[in-house]
């Protein structure tokens, strides 16, 4: 929040994305029905998730791919490092994948002597800067072109001008070499079509295509909830995903990858591996955060969230920021991890409105708050304060007493019809805002006492 550039960049970026999304759906009357349909497909798929995953696995294997099962991030890292070692890989090129961020894959690859290279321009930038992404769709949104130029000059040992075109060209050249040399390509998966054993990657730069065509081995890491039953279902999601994320009708590249290369093909990996990731997802199938399993990782909720727009992604402290990020963090790290984050929301509901699959994020935030309270994870002074409040609101006698006490307490600070600065809890409010004083007579007191009001 202190960083003025970050603030301005966030405002400009989120405002732009909001506008683009609105325009895209304004010219798309079928959009609302498709959103309902997408939501239904996700729910129905969850109702039979085991069956669809079995179909997916059978098809991936039929096409010559291998499927692996990772209950935890640690298992996923171990599986992927193992694949890399067996392949004798020295370098891995990575297409943008939140799942690989979530499992902290890069450190594990480095430790195993496999150099991970991020190839999505935004991810490449933050990798060079040793930072984490600040937005799901635009990970380097917090960096100025000047900062990127400095970064390239320093890390790539070549002069770089602070011009996006020039910087992009440099990145293209550097990464082209990597694509051609890498032994291992690692991606996530936006969707997996069970019926055909197809992994779907949605990108704009072309790195998804590179990573899945040029290296000898391709590993796709995917949360179990990403499976969709058929190609017909897939089209429903493709019709709304890019629109929700960036306002585009489709992203530049939608790549359908169906196993390793086939006979007669010049290119494509020799080996294809699909790593299915649990990481807290399975427990939510019958859990309070089940709805969050529908998330398409489009970022639309981030763009409209007044809190995210103010504080940016890093402030959330975990892999996934923004409204959905709080729910995903609870899913993956446990409820205690979101003791405070669950309150980083004014419950305004803009996220639920913007979500392409209509996830009711505010409702689940309230549920998380409830769990935090029920499990006594919340801090005791706060719990005490709310229990006291509950008593006041349940007993009119106490309520009236509190009002009388309040009037006395506020005398020293209520001047000129308003309350200026006060200490403690309300001090937080009054640093930037006035407070109205408790009325000399509450409405109910006036109603009881003023005959003309009653008549």
């Amino acid at each position: 929040m202190q960083d003025a550039f970050l603030q301005e960049a966030l405002t400009i970026a989120t405002t732009k994305f909001i506008g683009l999304r609105r325009e895209a759906f304004a010219g798309f009357p079928e959009g609302e029905a498709l959103r309902d349909q997408a939501r239904a497909i996700k729910e129905r798929t969850l109702q039979e998730l085991d069956r669809h995953l079995e179909t997916l696995i059978a098809n991936v294997e039929r096409l010559g791919g291998h499927v692996h099962y990772a209950a935890t991030p640690a298992e996923a890292r171990s599986i992927i490092v193992d694949i890399g070692r067996r392949a004798g890989a020295r370098m891995a090129v990575k297409s943008k994948s939140m799942a690989t961020e979530e499992i902290h894959l890069n450190e594990a690859l480095e430790a195993a002597g496999i150099t991970p290279v991020e190839t999505d321009l935004g991810e490449y930038i933050i990798q060079l800067a040793h930072e984490r992404p600040s937005h799901i769709i635009a990970p380097a949104i917090h960096k100025t072109k000047g900062q990127v130029a400095e970064l390239f000059t320093r890390e790539l040992k070549r002069p770089a001008e602070p011009d996006p075109e020039a910087l992009t060209k440099i990145a293209r050249g550097e990464l082209r070499e990597k694509f051609l040399q890498a032994d291992l390509g690692i991606t996530g998966a936006n969707f997996a079509v069970a019926e055909t054993g197809t992994i779907v990657l949605v990108t704009n730069e072309g790195n998804g295509r590179m990573v899945t065509s040029l290296p000898r081995v391709h590993v796709a890491v995917m949360g179990v909830e990403k499976v969709v039953p058929s190609m017909t279902d897939l089209m429903v999601f493709l019709a709304i995903l890019a629109k929700s994320a960036t306002g585009q009708k489709l992203s530049v590249y939608t790549s359908l990858v169906q196993g390793p290369r086939r006979g007669g093909e010049l290119e494509g990996p020799e080996e294809f591996h699909l790593v299915l990731l649990d990481g807290g997802r399975i427990a939510q199938i019958d859990g309070p955060l089940r709805e969050a399993l529908s998330c398409l990782r489009c970022g639309a909720c981030l763009n409209v969230c007044p809190v995210y727009r103010q504080i940016g992604g890093h402030a959330y402290g975990y892999t996934y920021p923004g409204p959905i990020g709080i729910l995903l963090t609870a899913m993956m790290e446990g409820t205690a991890a979101v003791r405070d984050l669950a309150h980083a929301s004014s419950l305004c509901g803009a996220c639920a409105d913007a979500c392409p699959v209509r996830i009711d994020i505010p409702r689940m935030l309230i549920e998380l708050r409830r769990e935090v309270d029920d499990k006594k994870i919340a801090r005791w002074p706060e719990r005490l304060a709310f229990k006291l409040l509950a008593q006041l609101l349940a007993r009119p006698g106490l309520y009236r007493l509190a009002v009388r006490a309040g009037r006395i307490l506020q005398r020293p600070v209520a001047t000129g019809g308003r309350i200026g600065r006060v200490p403690l809890v309300l001090g937080e409010w009054t640093r930037t805002r006035n407070l109205p004083p408790l009325a000399a007579r509450t409405f109910q007191e006036r109603w009881a006492q003023d005959k003309d009001l009653q008549a």
Partner: protein, 242 residues
């Protein structure tokens, strides 16, 4: 004139901090021929407890409130958030106590003020208590919870003596969010600052909202800035014929 009866659910913030709003509502409704009563010993709909996750406590308060309004023909609420609480959350919250049916009934009879005036009574024309330019902020629960953005604008647009100008980002949160305002006060204040910048840019004399929480937040910011813009509740503007 209309032969209707309405019970006023004044809300905790309304009762304690904005009693004039309640008075204006009584006057406005009476002029329309509605007989108004105010069930005694109201406290709160329970939303502050509910939003912070204290659901058992919220249910206890809700149960009390349900009992107070059991015999009401219509319940009028000067707050989108409280009306939303009663209409959307009471049935689920009180199902455990076997009160789902009563809660559904109350939900069906409960209306936020602007909805009651426009959609139930069909009353649209009022004389403004404040002359000059006015601008309207959509409070989140009214807009997204109750899907209501038209009724307040209909009332404000038709006001004799006042000119309604649009507020850029009217549908953006003011930063109140209940306890959010004191849990994350800096973020809440910065969100508020954006809202107030939009408000002052309209050149309006008066900012109108249908929620006491929003009015505390925005009004508190405006008076701290010594702005010439006044923050008022819809009811106060409609109470122009004195």
């Amino acid at each position: 004139m209309t032969g209707r009866r309405a019970s006023l659910m004044v809300t905790c913030l309304g009762d304690l901090f904005f009693p004039d709003v309640g008075v204006s509502i009584v006057r406005v409704l009476r002029k329309l021929g509605v007989a108004v009563d105010v069930p005694t010993d109201q406290t709160c709909c329970g939303l502050p407890l509910f939003n912070s996750g204290y659901h058992a406590e919220a249910a206890a308060v809700a149960r009390r409130t349900l009992a107070l309004f059991r015999d009401s023909e219509h319940v009028v609420v000067p707050s989108g958030s409280c009306a939303w609480m009663v209409k959307h959350e009471y049935p689920g919250l009180l199902a455990g106590a076997g009160l789902a049916r009563e809660a559904e009934h109350l939900a069906a009879c409960t209306h936020e003020l602007s909805q009651f005036l426009v959609r139930v009574l069909g009353a649209r024309q009022f004389t403004s208590a404040v002359r000059g330019r006015i601008t309207y902020h959509d409070s989140c629960h009214l807009l997204r919870g109750l899907h209501e953005s038209e009724s307040p604008r209909t009332l404000l647009g038709n006001l004799k003596g006042a000119e309604l100008v649009p507020l850029p980002g009217a549908d953006e949160c003011c930063g109140f969010g209940g306890s959010f305002a004191v849990r994350l006060p800096e973020v809440s204040s910065q969100i508020l600052a954006k809202k107030l910048a939009n408000v002052e840019a309209t050149g309006a004399d008066c900012l109108v909202a249908c929620d006491a929480g929003c009015l505390m937040q925005m009004g508190g910011g405006l008076t701290r800035k010594k702005s010439r813009v006044r923050a008022l509740h819809l009811a106060e503007l409609l109470d122009g014929d004195r």
